[in-house]
């Protein structure tokens, strides 16, 4: 059983959470000026690192808030979690 710390609720069981993709992807400001490759890069292309990865998680069965987490993809250790809009 893995415990993940929700920035609002504290440590909770992993089964209460769901993964919500890579974090810190900013939507381009002037999307009409992008070419197809740049737009596709924003929409579809994601990092797949071996090691530290910043991700969004959702406390689905708890407070239902999204937050950011830094997780190591090799050993699944969640190093830190922080609210959306904050820097860890």
């Amino acid at each position: 059983m893995l415990l993940i710390e929700c920035p609002y609720c504290g440590e909770r069981d992993e089964t209460e959470f769901s993964y919500a993709g890579e974090a810190h992807i900013a939507r381009p400001l002037e999307t009409e000026k992008l070419n197809d490759a740049e737009w596709a890069d924003y929409l579809f292309m994601r990092k797949n690192p071996k090691g530290a990865h910043r991700e969004q998680w959702l406390h689905a069965a708890g407070c239902r808030r999204y937050f950011n987490a830094e997780r190591d993809t090799v050993n699944y250790k969640v190093k830190s979690t922080y609210k959306i809009g904050e820097q860890s």
């Binding site: 059983m1 609002y8 609720c9 504290g10 909770r12 069981d13 089964t15 209460e16 069965a61 708890g62 407070c63 239902r64 808030r65």
Partner: protein, 192 residues
């Protein structure tokens, strides 16, 4: 306003009266009023309006609940609360809140027909719930005044310890009540 004589408890088919000797006592309190309240506590007008109607400010500490007269307010999220009212009063409270919050960024949704409440008491109450609830329910950790949203047998529930320490109350979805009731009946077989 629904006719209360036409309402059926979602657990009408389940008899918790004939559980095993050492099983916890399971009782349903049906037909309470449930309002989902959302707003920003940084907005003083919102806090003042809630205080005026419910007699208490919405709790800002995560996973806590407050009582005020007949009302109970559960923290559900940083800008979300569950207000429990006595039977038949949800509509009245909702319209009072609506009137006070008319010009305030907020939302009030009546969830009364969607939820029901179970009280689980007795020495094996914690054991029964921890059959499939990942939360630590020990009274050192989970004290009266606290509440939590989590899962029981894969279904969502909101749980709070009772003030007198005799057990817990859990708020579950009406549509999952039959499933949870049957699950609990089955889980009680071992408490003979």
């Amino acid at each position: 306003m629904p006719d209360l004589f036409q309402q059926h408890s979602p657990l009408v088919q389940i008899d918790f009266g004939e559980l095993q000797d050492n099983a916890p006592t399971i009782e349903e309190t049906p037909f309470l009023g449930y309002l989902n309240l959302r707003g920003k506590t940084s907005n003083m007008a919102f806090v003042a309006a809630v205080l005026k109607v419910l007699g208490v400010e919405p709790p800002t500490t995560a996973n806590t609940m407050v009582e005020s007269g007949d009302y109970r307010i559960y923290w559900l999220g940083p800008d979300e609360w569950l207000v429990i009212t006595p039977t038949g009063q949800a509509g009245k409270v909702q319209s009072e809140l609506n009137a006070e919050l008319k010009d305030v960024f907020s939302s009030i949704v009546d969830n009364s027909s969607g939820l029901t409440l179970l009280k689980i008491t007795g020495e094996n109450a914690t054991k029964l719930l921890n059959r499939d609830c990942p939360l630590d329910l020990h009274p050192w950790v989970f004290k009266p005044g606290q509440c939590a949203q989590t899962r029981f047998a894969k279904a969502g529930m909101t749980i709070a310890p009772l003030r007198d320490g005799s057990g817990f109350e859990i708020i579950i979805r009406r549509s999952f009540a039959d499933y949870i009731g049957l699950w609990m009946q089955d889980a009680c077989v071992e408490f003979e």
